[in-house]
Amino acid sequence: MATTLTVRPEALLTARRTLLRHERAVSAVPIDPPDTGPTSALTREVFGQVAEAAEGVATDLRSLAAGLARVVDEVTSTDTEVRSVLDLLRRGLS
């Protein structure tokens, strides 16, 4: 009985790893402003904005991954509690 109620958080952990992989991929892209002559100052400014937006995405992906980690903790601890209760019941019945 305990086996059938045991949760399997592998899918959540896989999803978390995927999010972190995307976070690393987005963060790894160099965002270096090129020399565009008279518009170089403008180019630097907009590249700064792009870098900031990309960092925002990376932060969001990390946040979602952390959220999944919390869910995994919760379902695992809940599952442990359920299994403990079931073990107690089983011992009481035997």
């Binding site: 399997r8 160099p30 090129p34 020399d35 565009t36 969001d60 992906l61 979602l64």
Partner: protein, 200 residues
């Protein structure tokens, strides 16, 4: 590295960022549909909502970055044409050289104005309210040129600038290598904001 090469390289980086954002979007959209059974009895509603919202904002950013990448590639091509025109002028009699240099200067100014417009459009798309207070630096939108527009391969969605070939594919030679600089000057800068997904 010349300004033209630097623009092409930076455009390639922005293109790469576009692809990675699109891939993140796909994952987020998929995770926004994660069924509750996966959550082991805990409600996944908050997570799904967050993931779906993130997917939408990441898709918007990818589209905006693609616009910048395309405009920057066009600027790089224009700067390469300008350099070719100036090199051409070096071997000509003074009168002709002055004329060609004048054309090069004009082309450079137009390319700069188009880049400013693209940046203005980017800012307006990212921050519509804040952008209302900013002056428009150059009139009129950048329009894609049908002549230089690449045929979009059949496939799902969206757009990416044609400046770089993602997925390790070698990029085609820059258009300025195939064009007469004087003709390029007349045609003017172009950009493509067409996003084409790489083959999986």
């Amino acid at each position: 590295m010349s300004a033209a090469s630097a623009c092409a390289a930076a455009s390639g980086d922005l293109t790469e960022l576009t692809w990675r954002l699109l891939q993140a979007h796909d994952t987020l959209a998929e995770q926004g549909r994660t069924p509750d059974r996966v959550f082991g009895g805990v409600s996944g509603e908050a997570y799904r909502i967050h993931a779906s919202h993130s997917a939408a904002s990441v898709a918007e950013l990818a589209s905006d970055v693609a616009l910048l990448a395309g405009a920057l590639a066009a600027l790089g091509r224009a700067l390469a044409d300008v350099a070719e025109l100036r090199a051409l002028a070096d071997g000509l009699p003074p009168d002709e050289a002055a004329q060609i240099r004048g054309r090069a200067d004009s082309r450079e100014r137009r390319a700069g104005a188009d880049w400013r417009t693209a940046v203005s459009v980017y800012v307006q798309r990212r921050w519509p309210v804040a952008a209302a207070d900013q002056p428009v630096v150059s009139p009129g939108p950048i329009r894609p040129s049908q002549e230089s527009r690449p045929a979009a391969p059949a496939g799902p969605t969206s757009a990416a600038p044609s400046a770089a070939a993602p997925g390790g594919e070698p990029a085609p030679p820059p258009p300025h290598h195939r064009r007469d600089p004087l003709r390029a000057e007349i045609v003017g800068p172009t950009y493509e904001a067409e996003i084409v997904r790489p083959d999986p």
